[in-house]
């Protein structure tokens, strides 16, 4: 029973999140101040209509999820979380570390998360260097795009 409750609670997280998001959106809609009146169908009309349809569909989905006994899809939990954290760190370090170092670390981290070349750290590092170099070649050399560098060196 507790397991079943946990399952539907997990399935309800997304619709509930969207419900909160829609409510914030509706509040922001009422803060729109038109410069001139267009009658009923002004700058607030479509956002309010979209929110209304969203509420109706979300209520329907939540009711169905509550009644359903279906199991949510199985899968690893930590791997996508690790990918998100690695990606967030990559974005944060992209400019300060420069393309080369940030990408090398990011690719190495992704190889680790995806178990690529497990137990072979040197080979993993060589592959990470190769991937970093290949895409540097593509973006900087082929397409002539200026990528961020560390201390104007790499």
């Amino acid at each position: 029973m507790a397991m079943r409750e946990m399952r539907w609670r997990k399935r309800l997280l997304l619709p509930l999140f969207l419900l909160v998001l829609t409510t914030i959106y509706v509040v922001a809609t009422f803060r729109i101040t038109p410069q001139f009146s267009e009658g009923l169908v002004g700058p607030r009309f479509l956002p309010l209509l979209a929110a209304l349809l969203m509420y109706a569909a979300l209520v329907y989905v939540i009711r169905r999820e509550l009644a359903s006994d279906e199991e949510s899809g199985k899968g690893a939990f930590w791997q996508p979380v690790a990918v998100v954290l690695a990606t967030a760190a990559y974005i944060a370090l992209f400019k300060p570390f420069g393309y080369s170092l940030a990408t090398l670390l990011y690719v190495y981290a992704l190889f680790h998360i995806f178990h690529y070349q497990q137990g072979r750290p040197l080979r993993r590092l060589l592959y990470a260097i190769a991937v970093t170099a290949v895409f540097y070649g593509l973006f900087a050399l082929v397409f002539g795009i200026r990528l961020p560098t560390l201390l104007d060196i790499i």
Partner: protein, 510 residues
Amino acid sequence: MDFFLELSQGFATLARPDVLAYMVLGFVIGTFFGAVPGLTSVLAIALLLPITYSMDVVPALVMCAAIFMSGMYAGSITATTINIPGAPSSMMTAIEGYALMKKGEGANALGHAALGSMIGGSLGALLLMALMPLAAKASLLIQTPGKFSLVLFALVVIVIVQRDAIAKGLIATMLGVMIATIGIDVMQPIPRFNFGTEMLVEGIDMMPIIIGTFAISEVLYQAHQNHGDLRISLSQAASATIRRRDFLPSFAQIREIGIITYLKSTLLGYGIGILPGVGGSMAAFVAYADAKRRSRRPDTYGNGSREGIAAAETANNSMCGGAFVPMLMFGIPGDPTTAIVLGVLVINGLQPGPRLLETQTDLIAPMFASLFVSALVLIPLTLFLLGPWFVRIVSIPKGLLYACIAVVALVGSYVATFSIFQMALALLFGILAFFLRQQNYPTVSLLLGFILGPDLEQYLRRSLSLSDGNPIVFLTSPDSLFFLALLAVFIYFMAIRKPKQAGIEGKTTV
């Protein structure tokens, strides 16, 4: 007449070595992404999108067309050889192709898939070229209220086509519409939903939505799905030995399938392609079901029917031509790939509409030519050259593959505007799309809602301001009335009639 002259010049442009090289490169990329299970041609074009900032528009569009065509065909490769459809549109091919593979006739099944793709793809491209001037003339007749009803029709079709999950389709579409409302209002110079930040005043760019929805979410989804089993089994690959000479379908087999099957599937695929948000899977399914219904040997279906393969593959490739019609004439994408091609057009300052055909045929004609040549020449050529090694090519370690995709996606979203904010947005939309995918919400609807939302609002408010706020204008304008009537017909057939039938069937079986 001028248009057809421009078209012939488009073929001449395609023959230029640099443009031809981009087409071949696009075809190879599309074949790889289409064949690898989990990757799609949509993802390939999404990754290409940021790079198009640094490319000329003609090679970019030529490459997109080649990726689209090859990606649609290549799904049949792993569908046949290892029973894993490389793309969702090859689901029907997997049923019949793999059954033939088990009988030792896998190469023949691949040959029929390539032949069907070649016929459907090239006829679909010819139909596109032949009917484009007519579509352009027809689109000139549509006024603002008619444009509103057309966009409304497109949005409703996008939602109701999700037959088992209309509510989820509606949520994803409305989410896209809501994201599109962020930024300056479509009629008045006022910011909406910027929450006090400068960065949101200009609105959300299409780029992070596409990269996040199709690339980042894919990396997250694969990380979620796989626990170390990240490579197609080599034993499966080894067992799928294919000889080149076995690819050629015999004349007797083609005659048994019949020219009617090829032609009807082409027309079905093309027609379905014109409908917004429907795509190749539906085209393949409808053509397959139709071929089965009127087949002289329906018992072979499920046990390796060449007719089934031919119908499905012909339809999903002819869909490519159809999908370009609403995108080029109205900015309404027929499927996710054309939605991203629309992004390529917009990035290069091209505005979809009938004037595009009048004034910039020199830019889009090579794309049509690429669609045609990719189907007619490159599909059979690729099968002949790479066929025996298809399975080995797609058995690349996924850890390496998804690391590469993540780097291209993130660096790509940076180079488009040199903005870290765009990278962060791509990650944010990637996380959102991952959760949506995980719970079976159609993420394509999110993108289509994002693209069509501003048009819907703009045409609605313009129509009402022109008619002093009188909504009757949508019923008195003949073009608008036509699209509203069409909408009613679609709702009846797709959302009302079918569920009732299903209900009756359900009752009788219980």
